[in-house]
C-alpha cells in the first residue's frame, strides 16, 4: 500500500516541531561547565530524590495498578465504564488540580489529613507527599497500558488452565501475568517516567525543599530564574533519562 505523498509534509513538520526544541536545548548546554553544573550539591540532591521517589511510586503503581487493570479487563459490572473513566482521570487532569485535590485529602485540614494529624503523621511538606503526588499522576499510565495488554491477550489460555483444574490465583500467577509481561514492563517504565517528570502536583501539594521535596523538575524551575546554565544542564539530564526510558519501553513492547 502506498501512502499519499502530501502526507509526508505535515508529518515531517510535526516531527520537526517535536525535535527542534530538543536540538535547541542541546545548542544551549554550556558543555564546558556541564559536569560541574550537574554534580553540584543541590543538583545531586534533586536527582537522588527524584530517582528514589520515582522508584517508590512506581512500586506503588505496580502494587495497585496491576489488580486495578485486571479487575477492569476481566470483570463486568454495572457502572464499570464510568469507574474506568474516573480512575483514569489524572491522565487528563492538569497536575496542579491533582495537587490541590491531594492537599484537601492528605493536607492538614484535609479529609484524611485531619485524622492522620491526630495520629502524629504529617504528610504535607514530606517526601511521602512527593511519592503520593507522583503515584496519583502515574497510576493511570500503568493501568491503561496493562488493561490494553490484558484485553489483547484474551482469555483462552486462562479458560484452558482453569478447565484443567488450576485455581484462580494459580491462573493469575502462572498464565495471566506472564502473558502480559511485556505490557506490564512498558506500563511500569511509563509510570516511572511520568513520576520522574511530575511537577505541578508536587509543587502544589508537597512544597519545595532541597533533599526533602525538591525533585529535579522543581530544581530546574527554581534555577531557571537565577542560573539559566544550571537549568539547561539539568534539563538535558532529564531529556537523556526520558530517551533511555522510551528505549526501554519500546524494547519491552517488542519482546
Amino acid at each position: 500500500m502506498s501512502l499519499p505523498r502530501w502526507l509526508f509534509v505535515p508529518a515531517a513538520l510535526g516531527a520537526a516541531f517535536v525535535l527542534l526544541p530538543l536540538v535547541a536545548i542541546l545548542a544551549r548546554v554550556p558543555w564546558a561547565d556541564f559536569p560541574t553544573l550537574i554534580t553540584s550539591e543541590s543538583s545531586r540532591a534533586a536527582l537522588g530524590l527524584s530517582l528514589r521517589t520515582s522508584a517508590t511510586s512506581t512500586v506503588l503503581c505496580v502494587l495497585l495498578g496491576v489488580p486495578m487493570a485486571t479487575v477492569l479487563a476481566r470483570t463486568r459490572f454495572r457502572g464499570q465504564g464510568l469507574l474506568r473513566s474516573l480512575v483514569l482521570l489524572p491522565l487528563v487532569l492538569p497536575p496542579v488540580v491533582g495537587g490541590i485535590a491531594l492537599l484537601y485529602t492528605f493536607g492538614r485540614r484535609g479529609l484524611l489529613g485531619e485524622h492522620l494529624e491526630v495520629l502524629g503523621i504529617q504528610v504535607a511538606f514530606s517526601t511521602t507527599a512527593v511519592v503520593l503526588a507522583q503515584t496519583f499522576v502515574a497510576l493511570p499510565f500503568l493501568v491503561v497500558s496493562l488493561e490494553g495488554a490484558l484485553r489483547t491477550a484474551g482469555q483462552r489460555y486462562e479458560v484452558v488452565a482453569a478447565s484443567l483444574g488450576a485455581g484462580p490465583t494459580t491462573v493469575f500467577r502462572r498464565i495471566t501475568l506472564p502473558l502480559v509481561l511485556p505490557g506490564l514492563l512498558s506500563g511500569t517504565v511509563l509510570a516511572f517516567a511520568r513520576s520522574l517528570g511530575e511537577f505541578g502536583a508536587t509543587i502544589t501539594f508537597a512544597g519545595s525543599l532541597e533533599g526533602v521535596t525538591r525533585t529535579l523538575p522543581l530544581e530546574i524551575y527554581l534555577l531557571r530564574e537565577t542560573d539559566v546554565d544550571g537549568a539547561v544542564a539539568l534539563s538535558l539530564v532529564l531529556v537523556v533519562v526520558a530517551v533511555l526510558v522510551i528505549g526501554l519501553a519500546r524494547q519491552g513492547r517488542a519482546q
Binding site: P10, L13, L103, S208, T226
Partner: protein, 249 residues
C-alpha cells in the same frame, strides 16, 4: 478527512500566532513583580484613562523570572522589580534605559492562619522546633529579604518549604498547611481576613526597595517613560500607599 482537519488546525494555529493588527492602538507591556499586581492594575487603569487608545498589558510574576524573560528578549516596555539586585541583572545586560528609580519600599511581615493557632509572636518564634514555617527560596527577592530578617533577629530559620514566589508562601499559609510564612506587609493587607499579620520589629533592615525603569529597545519609549513618571508621581504613590507600600526613602 482527519488529516485535512489537522491541516486546518495547523493553519489556524499559524493565523492565531502570526502578527495581526499592527495598525491598532499601541500596547504598553509592563512587566511587574507579583507583589505589585493589585496596585499596578489600578495604575494601569489610570494610565489608560490619561492616554486615549493606549492599552497597558501587565505581565506579572516573580521578579527574577521576569528579568530572565526580558533577558531572553521578551517584548517588555517597562520593568518594575521587587528588589534592586534583580533590577541589577537587567542593568548589567544594558537593557535599562537610564537609571532605575526606587518608587516604593515594602517591609516583611509574618503571615499566620486566622487565629494564629501556633501562637507566633516574633521572628524568634519562627525558629521554634515543630513549627511549620514556609519561606521564599533564597534565590528570589522575598527569600533574600527573609534571610536578612533572620540575620537581623539573630535566628537560624529552617523552613519546611522554600517556595518560588511570595504568593506561593501566602497560599500555603492560607490553606492552613503552614503555621507561618514570611511575606510582605502588602500581601497580608491584600489577603483581607484570610491570613493574620504579626509585625516584624525593626522591619527597615529587611525591607525591599522596588525600582522601575523603561526597558531599552522598547517600541514605545515615550509611553514607557510616561508610565514610570505616573508611578513615581503623586497619583501612583497614592495607590501604592493605600496598598501598604512605604514611600521610597
Amino acid at each position: 478527512m482527519r488529516s485535512r482537519g489537522a491541516l486546518g488546525a495547523a493553519a489556524l494555529l499559524l493565523a492565531l500566532t502570526g502578527c495581526s493588527g499592527d495598525a491598532e492602538a499601541p500596547t504598553l507591556r509592563v512587566y511587574a513583580a507579583a507583589s505589585l499586581a493589585a496596585t499596578f492594575e489600578e495604575i494601569a487603569t489610570l494610565f489608560e484613562a490619561d492616554h486615549d487608545g493606549v492599552e497597558v498589558e501587565l505581565v506579572l510574576g516573580g521578579s527574577s523570572d521576569l528579568a530572565a524573560q526580558i533577558g531572553e528578549g521578551a517584548p517588555a516596555d517597562v520593568f518594575a522589580a521587587a528588589d534592586e539586585p534583580t533590577m541589577g541583572t537587567l542593568v548589567e545586560e544594558d537593557l535599562a534605559t537610564g537609571t532605575p528609580e526606587v518608587f516604593a519600599t515594602n517591609a516583611l511581615e509574618i503571615a499566620v492562619p486566622p487565629g494564629n493557632p501556633a501562637d507566633v509572636r516574633s521572628v524568634a518564634d519562627l525558629a521554634r522546633p515543630g513549627l511549620r514555617l514556609v519561606l521564599c527560596a533564597p534565590e528570589v527577592p522575598c527569600g533574600a529579604a527573609a534571610a536578612r530578617a533572620a540575620r537581623a533577629a539573630g535566628v537560624a530559620l529552617e523552613p519546611v518549604s522554600e517556595e518560588q514566589s511570595v504568593s506561593d508562601v501566602l497560599g500555603k499559609v492560607r490553606s492552613g498547611e503552614a503555621d507561618a510564612g514570611l511575606v510582605y506587609v502588602t500581601d497580608v493587607l491584600a489577603a483581607g481576613g484570610a491570613v493574620a499579620g504579626v509585625d516584624v520589629p525593626a522591619p527597615g533592615a529587611a525591607a525591599n526597595r522596588y525600582p522601575i525603569v523603561p526597558v531599552a529597545g522598547s517600541a514605545e519609549p515615550d509611553l514607557a517613560a510616561a508610565f514610570r513618571d505616573l508611578v513615581l508621581g503623586p497619583e501612583g504613590q497614592r495607590v501604592l500607599r493605600a496598598a501598604g507600600f512605604a514611600p521610597a526613602p
